[in-house]
Amino acid sequence: MKRLAWATVPLALGSALAAGGPDTGSTAWMLASTALVLLMTPALAFFYGGLVGQKNVLNTMMMSFAVLAFGGVAWVLLGYSLAFAPGTAYIGGLAYALAHGFMEKGKLLVDGGLPVIVNLGFQGTFAIITAALISGALVGRMRFSAWLVFSTLWILFVYAPIAHWVWGGGLLSKALDFAGGTVVHINAATAGLVGALVLGARREFGRVAFLPHNIPFVLLGAGLLWFGWFGFNAGSALAANESAALAFVNTMFAPAMTAVVWILLDYLKNGKATAVGAATAVVVGLVAITPAAGWVGPLGALWIGALAAFPSYYFLLVRPKLGLDDSLDVFGAHGLGGITGAILTGVFAAAAWNGGTAGGLEGNWAQVGYQVLAVLVVMAYSAVGTLVLLFVTRAFVPLRVAGRDEAVGLDAALHGEEAYPTTEGAILVAEEGGAA
C-alpha cells in the first residue's frame, strides 16, 4: 500500500520545497528510520541468541548477521529491482538492478520529497530482517552454508515478489498493510514453519530441556527491537508527517498493552510473571500493530495489542507438545501475531485517524475479507516458495548438520569458536603444527 505512494502520491505535507530539492525534514526522518530498522537485525540476533543454549549462541547470532551481509548484497544487486522496478503484477523488472534508477541527468533523483536512493536502503533493511526472522525456527541443526544459500535465494524469490504484490503495485494492493505485517511477519513465519518441518526436530527435542542461556540478552534484544520498530512502522509513512506520528504512538502503546495482558495471563496460569514472556509479548504486540500502525487510532491500537496476546500465548504453551520444533516460536509470535494484526487492521481501521479508510467497525466489513485474502495468498506463496528453495539448496549442500555436530554444538562445530571462551587448556598452535 504505502510504498506505492512513493512514486505516485504528491507530497501533501508542510515544508515548501525548492524545485527538485528533497524535504530535509522527511529525509532526516527516513535516514533515521533506515538506521533504526537496520539495528533490528543485530537486536534480533540478541533476542534469538539469548533464547538458545550456550553451545549454539554464535551460530544463532551469525544466522542474523549473515543476512545483513549476503542478503544486503543480493538486495542491492537484484532484489530491490525485483520488488520495486516496473514489471508485471507478479514480479518487478530488472530496471533497478545493480543500483540503477536512482539518477537523472547526472543528479540523484528526488521524488515525494525524498532522494529516491533512500528507498534502496530503507526497503533493504526490511528484506534483511524478514529473512533473519526465519532463522529462529531452524536454530541448532541447520548447516550454516545451507542457510547462506537458502536465505539469499529466499530474499530474491520469496520476499521480493511478495513485496512487489503489496507495495510495488501488484496483486494485493487492496489489503491494508501499513508497515509489513503480511510481507514481513506472516511471510517469515510461514517460511519458518515450513523450514522447521523440512529440517525436522533437533535430536534431543522432547528429551532434553532447551533453556535460554541468557535472559538479559533476550530483554536487550526486545528493547532494541522496540526502539528499531519505530523506524519500521513510523518510517513506513515515508515522511515526517501526521501519519508517521500516529504510527509512532501506536507502536509505543500497542505492545505495552500486549505485555499487560500477557503478564496477567502468566499470573493466572502460574502466579508468576516471566521475563521471557514479557519480552515475547512486546514482540507479539509490535508484530500485531505493524499492519495497522497508520490506519487505526490509539484506542484501536490498544485493542489490537490486547487481543493479539491470546492466540500467541496459548499457542506457545502447546507448541512443544505438538512435536513441532519451531525452536524459538517464530510461528507462534510472528505468524499468529501477524495474522491477528492483519485481520484486526481490517476491523479497527478508522477513517477519521487515517484520512478516509474505514474498517469493519465503521461498516466496511469487506476490508476484513481483503485482509484474510492477503494473509492466505502470502502464506500459500511463502510456503511453496520456501519448500522449493529448500530443495534447491539441498541439491548443493545438505540442510542439516551431522548428529555429532549437533551434540557438540554448532558454535564449535561450524564456526570453530565458543561464545565465551576460556583459556584453561587452550594451547597455542604454532604455524608448523607444534605443541603437545
Binding site: V208, A412, E424, A426, I427
Partner: protein, 120 residues
C-alpha cells in the same frame, strides 16, 4: 562409608540422575569440570590466534554412600552414563572415615539416609 566420584558426560547427567533415583540414591553433589583424556582435540581460531582445546566439559558427581549402596550406585552409573565412545568418564571409589549431616549432627549411615521432603 564410601565416596563415589564419577565423571560423566554433561549430556548424560539427566539419565544418570534418573538411574540413581531409581536405585534409591538421594543425596549427591555435582560439579562442572573439564576433562582431559584419550580423546582428540578441537581446534578453534580467533583472528590470528589458533588454539587446540584439549579439555572437554564433563560433570563430576560425588555421592557418599554406605557399603550396601556401593554396588547399586556404581551399576546405576555404568548403565546410564555409557555411550561406548571415548570420553564416557571414570568412577573412583574412595574410602571415607566419617560422614556428618550438618543439619542434625547425625553421623555415618544416618547421615546419608534421606529424610522426608518438605524443606528447601
Amino acid at each position: 562409608m564410601k565416596l563415589i566420584v564419577a565423571i560423566v558426560r554433561p549430556e548424560k547427567l539427566n539419565d544418570v540422575l534418573e538411574a540413581l533415583f531409581k536405585a534409591e540414591v538421594r543425596g549427591l553433589t555435582i560439579t562442572r569440570v573439564l576433562g582431559h583424556g584419550g580423546g582428540t582435540e578441537r581446534v578453534e581460531t580467533y583472528r590470528g590466534t589458533t588454539v587446540k582445546m584439549g579439555l572437554y566439559d564433563k560433570v563430576k558427581l560425588e555421592i557418599g554412600v554406605s557399603e550396601p549402596f556401593v554396588k547399586p550406585t556404581i551399576e546405576a552409573i555404568l548403565s546410564s552414563a555409557r555411550t561406548g565412545e571415548v570420553g564416557d568418564g571414570k568412577i573412583f571409589v574412595l574410602p571415607v572415615e566419617k560422614v556428618i549431616r550438618i543439619r542434625t549432627g547425625e553421623e555415618d549411615e544416618a547421615a546419608v539416609t534421606p529424610v522426608k521432603p518438605g524443606g528447601e
